[in-house]
Each structure stands twice: as structure tokens, then as C-alpha cells.
């Protein structure tokens, strides 16, 4: 219990697996925030229940995780965000959904609540109501400043969200995001859902990361129920997770270049993406591989001709992709747009615990597959690329290197994946258990925390997308850049709207 040693706590919750969860008093809560502020721990998640708030924290050095819980007897909890800014949007969300009030908070504007739900604090179980007020953007003052409002409906085929730019001529002085437009109430739909129904919702939290979410949800449920997964199933899961990573990285590399008006790369990576999705469809019966990863294992085995389809895909990627890397690297007009554009400072990446290509392009050496070494990645050999520059170019290169690693991983998985069972049935009647899991999606780590009741129904489930800790860094990255480079910066992050709006 390394993390909890330095945090005074009342009792450890025994049914929480695989990492400990402890209830803390105000002193313990503040001690936990101290550790976050000092940088000794990284905030992994922050979520609510009707009468409690939880924080998950990571010790990057020892790869330990712990959850602390503060019971809000008076409906309040000491604000985390006022001392540790990465918690801000999560804290505002807790207030929106549960009505719990962070004391001494600097910013209590609504986040997900746009006053359109017909009720306030929908997960609080109470009938309190909140006064509707127009959303106040943060002020930016100065001579010659003007505002540009973009969204929620954007020009491309992308998700909805609002961006408020304050600009001085071409240059962005401040960007403020206002999201929540795709809030579907996933956490409320989770409550009381069967494992099967809840897994379907997890698959559709962010459709581009269906496998990663299903994987994290399944592992959280398996941790809670303390059950093992057959070896073959873990390999099939990783196989799908790497295919999903490939498809998304191909799409992103092309789309970033397209936003710099380099359509040739977009066309070429579009072909690779389509081939990847077709191979995934041939192997697992669904192009996005939804609903294949389930608690206990996988719902179906790879199709008989799936291995051949995937080997053909790997051969094609190995033939075409090196040439595309060369194309990217040797096109000066493209480099001119991506190099030194949209820099994320390494300090911010560390402070916010930014995952995925956003963190790794800015020196944060974290990948849940390696740091937490969940099955089967503990049996596979791969490298985690890390760069320091933090610009659009670095985020492209992280993706390029990750494509290469995923191709290697898929090859290893196909070689090592032996025959065997693919699913263990979850045991009935193990009541009141809790589980936490992280998996590495293409854009960063996905966290799932859940509590199951004795009938194997979800009592409470929280899903935390990597985007929560990446979106705020986009606001910092665009500062001083020109508005015309915003699509490029935004695409180089490719944060999820649906995953963070829930």
C-alpha cells in the first residue's frame, strides 16, 4: 500500500481490486491533493457518487495506483481543482451530475449541464433545481481583440463542441472550449444494467475506441469478480486493440496532413485504414470490432480465414507505409506547417498526466500497456516511442512509430496465440465488489471503475477518457498560433468529444 502510506486514511475497502481504495477524512483528502500538486502522484480519475467523491492516483515510478474516497456528509467536499487545475472539468462534472459542492472552488460554472435536461443534478437522487444562466466565457481584454465562435456544428464530419477564440488579428490570444454537447447520460444508463448491457454501452462511449473501452470495462469487471481470463482470449483482445490503434493512427496521420492541404497522404492512409477495417471485419465480424470483448473473455473467436486476412494486411502495410513515412519526411511544405506548430509544454503534459500521443510527444513516458503490463502485453515485446518537441510534427511521429510497433505486435500475437478456451463465465452471486482497470486506447489511457451488486448488475460505473486531460492542453497549445492552424492542432490531438461528454 505504498501510495496510501503517506495519506492518512480510515479504512481500506477490501472488495476493491486490484488496487486499494481507502476512505479518507479531510486531512487525508488534502494530503492526497498535496501529493498531486507536488507532482509525486498523477491524477488518473476523479468521479462522484450521490454522497461521496473518489480520486484515482498513479505513482508513475512504482506503477502503483490507489483510490481515495471522501464521504460528503454535508453534500460538500474540499475542492481539488482550486489547488490542482487538471481536476477542474471533472470537478465541475461532479457538481453537474451529483449536486455535490466543492468548497473553496474558484470555478463552479456548469460543464456538461447546458440546462437542457429538464432537471438538475440527474444522478443525485434528489429533486434540487439550479438557476439557468447564460454560459460565461472567461474574459480576455485588450485593444484590438475580437472573438470568433465556432461550433457546436463544425464544418467537417466531426463531433460537436464549441470553441471560443479570442484573437488579435490572426493570432489566438485565448481559446476556451465548451463541451458537453454529446452528453448521453451513459453513467446513468449503466446503473442497474446487466454486465452484457453495460459492456455494450462501454463499447459506444467513444466509437473509435470501442475495443479499448470494452477491454477496460471487461478487465474492471474481471478484477471486481476476481476471475481469470483464458490466455487465448487475452491475445485476441490485444489483437483487436492493436488493429483499432492502426486504423485510428492511419486515419489521423492522413487527416493531419489533409488539414495542411496535403491530400495525397490522406488518400494513401485512407486506403490503409480501409484495408485495416476490412481485415478486422473479416477476422471478427465487425469493422470496428464492437461487442467482441466481453467480461470473462471474448464473445467469438477469430474467423477461420481471419489470420490469413491479417497476415495479408501486415504485408501490405510493411510494403506501403515506409514510403509514406518518407513522403511525410521529405515534403518541406508539409513540415513547414507541422514543425513548431501547437507546442504542448512538457511541464503541462506531466502535470495533467496527458496520455497517448499528446503526452508522449511532450516527454511523458507513460503507456498503460507497458507501465501496468496487463495481459497479454506482459508477454509481448514492444517499444514506447517518446519525443520531446511537443509540436504537431512530434505527435505525427509518435503515431508513425506506434504504427510500426502495432504491426510488430500483431505479428507476435499471431505467432504466439495458441489454441484454447476464449471465455470464462462470470460467477453469479459474488456481491458488492469493485474493480478498476486501465487500458491503452489509441489516444491514451482509458480508466473504468465499477461496482457490481450480488446479481452481477452494475451499481455504479465511471469511464474516464484520456481526452479529459488532453483537451485543456489544446487550449495552451494554440496560444500564439494563428487561427488557421487550429484545425491542424486540433486534429493532431484528436481528442474525443463523446468519450469526455459521456
Amino acid at each position: 500500500m505504498g501510495i496510501l502510506d503517506s495519506i492518512p486514511h480510515v479504512n481500506a475497502v477490501l472488495s476493491h481490486r486490484p488496487w486499494p481504495r481507502a476512505v479518507v477524512t479531510e486531512a487525508g483528502w488534502q494530503a492526497a491533493i498535496d501529493r498531486l500538486v507536488e507532482g509525486g502522484l498523477t491524477l488518473l480519475g476523479f468521479w462522484g457518487e450521490p454522497t461521496a467523491v473518489h480520486m484515482a492516483m498513479l505513482d508513475g515510478g512504482s506503477a502503483e495506483i490507489a483510490v481515495v474516497t471522501y464521504e460528503c456528509a454535508a453534500g460538500t467536499f474540499p475542492s481539488v481543482a482550486s489547488r490542482h487545475p487538471p481536476a477542474l472539468r471533472l470537478e465541475r462534472t461532479i457538481h453537474d451530475l451529483f449536486g455535490l459542492v466543492p468548497t473553496a472552488a474558484d470555478d463552479l460554472r456548469p460543464w456538461l449541464d447546458h440546462y437542457a435536461w429538464g432537471k438538475s443534478y440527474p444522478l443525485s437522487g434528489r429533486n434540487a433545481s439550479r438557476d439557468a444562466r447564460p454560459y460565461q466565457f472567461l474574459p480576455a481584454e485588450g485593444e484590438g481583440l475580437h472573438q470568433v465562435a465556432v461550433g457546436p456544428v463544425h464544418a467537417g464530419i466531426i463531433e460537436p463542441g464549441h470553441f471560443r477564440f479570442t484573437a488579435n488579428g490572426e493570432h489566438v490570444v485565448r481559446l476556451e472550449q465548451w463541451l458537453g454537447y454529446t452528453h448521453k447520460g451513459i453513467e446513468s444508463l449503466m446503473q442497474g444494467a446487466s454486465l452484457e448491457a453495460a459492456a455494450k454501452l462501454a463499447n459506444r462511449t467513444s466509437g473509435d475506441s470501442a475495443v479499448a473501452y470494452a477491454f477496460a470495462f471487461a478487465r474492471a469487471a474481471e478484477a471486481a469478480l476476481d476471475i481469470e481470463v483464458p490466455r487465448r482470449a487475452t491475445y485476441l483482445r490485444a489483437l483487436m486493440a492493436e488493429l483499432e490503434r492502426l486504423a485510428n493512427h492511419f486515419g489521423d496521420i492522413g487527416a493531419i496532413c489533409n488539414d495542411a492541404s496535403f491530400a495525397l497522404m490522406h488518400a494513401q492512409t485512407g486506403i490503409l485504414r480501409e484495408r485495416t477495417l476490412r481485415a478486422a471485419g473479416a477476422a471478427f465480424g465487425h469493422r470496428l470490432m464492437m461487442d467482441v470483448v466481453v467480461p470473462g473473455g471474448v464473445a467469438r473467436d477469430i474467423a477461420p480465414d481471419g489470420v490469413t486476412a491479417l497476415r495479408t494486411l501486415l504485408a501490405e502495410i510493411k510494403k506501403v507505409f515506409p514510403r509514406l513515412i518518407e513522403l511525410y519526411d521529405n515534403t518541406a511544405s508539409l513540415q513547414d506547417r507541422t514543425v513548431t506548430t501547437g507546442i504542448v509544454k512538457a511541464d503541462y503534459a506531466r502535470q495533467f498526466g496527458a496520455g497517448g500521443h499528446v503526452g508522449r510527444a511532450s516527454g511523458r513516458d507513460f503507456d498503460a500497456r507497458r507501465t501496468l503490463a496487463y495481459a497479454p502485453y506482459d508477454q509481448l515485446s514492444f517499444e514506447v516511442p517518446v519525443l520531446e518537441a511537443g509540436d504537431v510534427n512530434a505527435r505525427v511521429w509518435i503515431r508513425i512509430r506506434e504504427v510500426e510497433q502495432s504491426v510488430e505486435l500483431i505479428g507476435q500475437i499471431l505467432d504466439l496465440m495458441g489454441p484454447g478456451e476464449i471465455r470464462n463465465t462470470p460467477p453469479a452471486g459474488r456481491g458488492g465488489c469493485e474493480g478498476l482497470a486501465l487500458t491503452e486506447a489509441f489516444r491514451g489511457d482509458v480508466l473504468v471503475w465499477l461496482r457490481l451488486d450480488g446479481a452481477l448488475r452494475v451499481e455504479r460505473c465511471h469511464l474516464r477518457d484520456a481526452s479529459w486531460f488532453q483537451w485543456p492542453l489544446l487550449e495552451t497549445a494554440i496560444e500564439g498560433n494563428i487561427i488557421a492552424d487550429f484545425p491542424l492542432c486540433n486534429k493532431s490531438f484528436n481528442c474525443s468529444y463523446s468519450g469526455a461528454d459521456l
Partner: protein, 174 residues
């Protein structure tokens, strides 16, 4: 770059033959398209995509329509950046309450004649998000819908079949 460009000249096209228009889509459309509109538009439709709270799965497959395999523009179908340029709204998602007003405004900003295509199982009746406090549930509860394309998400081929059916009707071929 030269090698990549030359190869695409010599290797032949990846683009696949068009699928037949979807029969059920043709049936759904049969009652809805008037002759005057057909005469005005000819065989070309501008499409504005609106994500009304989808998980982003449908968007990925709609994107795929523009790749070399499906090449949607060869049919005269193209995606445009503004509803003011659009003939068709392609709407996904269970229509979150937070997006309802934006969807209504987008619809109102689209000039007549216009068609609304609801894409994906969520867009039909809210799908697995139906009954949530945060979702309206079904595009047709917010704006009139001319055609539904099922699937979670529908494959690019399913999307193409539905859109080709719409195109045939609008251009008065059937």
C-alpha cells in the same frame, strides 16, 4: 512522392462498382419526394453531416465513403461545410438534449427542398441510449426524417445503398 503518384497511375483503380440502391430505402422514399424538387436538383446532392450526439462510430464510416474504395463523389454526392450549401442533412446520434437546438437551427438554415437522412440505430429511436434523461431519442422527434439507414454503425456499403436510393429518387429515375 513521384513513385507513389506514378504507381497510382499504373496500378489501376481501387474504386469498387456501385452497390444497388437499397430496396427498403426506395420504398421508404417512394412517398416523399416531389417532382418539382427532382427537376431542380438533377443528379447531384450536397450533404451536410450533423453529429447529434453519436459515439463517433457513424462518423468514422461516413468518412470512409470518401476513400478510394467507395469514392462517393463519383455519384455527384459531396459533403459540404455549411447547411446553407446543403440539400441533405445526414444526422447521427440519439439527439442529445444538449444538441437538439443546434440540430433544429441547422435544419432551419438548410434551404428547401431538403431531405433528412437519419444514420445509425441511435438516430432511429435513441438505440441503446434510449430513455436517458439526456437524450431526445430518434432524429424524427426533432426534425422530419425522409430516410433511415440502420446499423451500429452502418457499413460504408449500407450508407452508399441508402444514399444512392435517395439520389435516384431525387433525380426522378424511378
Amino acid at each position: 512522392m513521384r513513385k507513389t503518384l506514378l504507381e497510382s497511375l499504373t496500378h489501376g483503380s481501387l474504386t469498387e462498382p456501385a452497390p444497388a440502391p437499397d430496396d427498403s430505402a426506395l420504398a421508404e422514399l417512394a412517398t416523399k419526394v416531389d417532382r418539382a424538387a427532382q427537376a431542380r436538383l438533377g443528379r447531384s446532392l450536397a450533404i451536410r453531416e450533423v453529429d447529434a450526439g453519436s459515439c463517433n462510430g457513424c462518423e468514422l464510416e461516413i468518412h470512409a465513403l470518401s476513400n478510394a474504395f467507395y469514392d462517393i463523389e463519383r455519384f455527384g454526392l459531396r459533403f459540404v461545410a455549411s447547411p446553407r450549401h446543403a440539400d441533405v442533412l445526414l444526422v447521427t446520434g440519439p439527439v442529445t438534449k444538449n444538441m437538439r437546438q443546434a440540430l433544429e437551427r441547422t435544419y432551419n438554415a438548410t434551404p428547401d427542398p431538403k431531405w433528412v437522412v437519419a444514420v445509425g440505430d441511435c438516430a432511429i429511436d435513441g438505440g441503446i441510449f434510449r430513455g436517458s434523461y439526456a437524450c431526445v431519442g430518434g432524429v424524427s422527434e426533432t426534425v422530419p426524417v425522409d430516410l433511415h439507414i440502420k446499423g451500429c454503425p452502418p457499413s460504408p456499403t449500407d450508407l452508399l445503398k441508402g444514399l444512392l436510393a435517395l439520389l435516384e429518387h431525387v433525380s426522378g429515375k424511378r
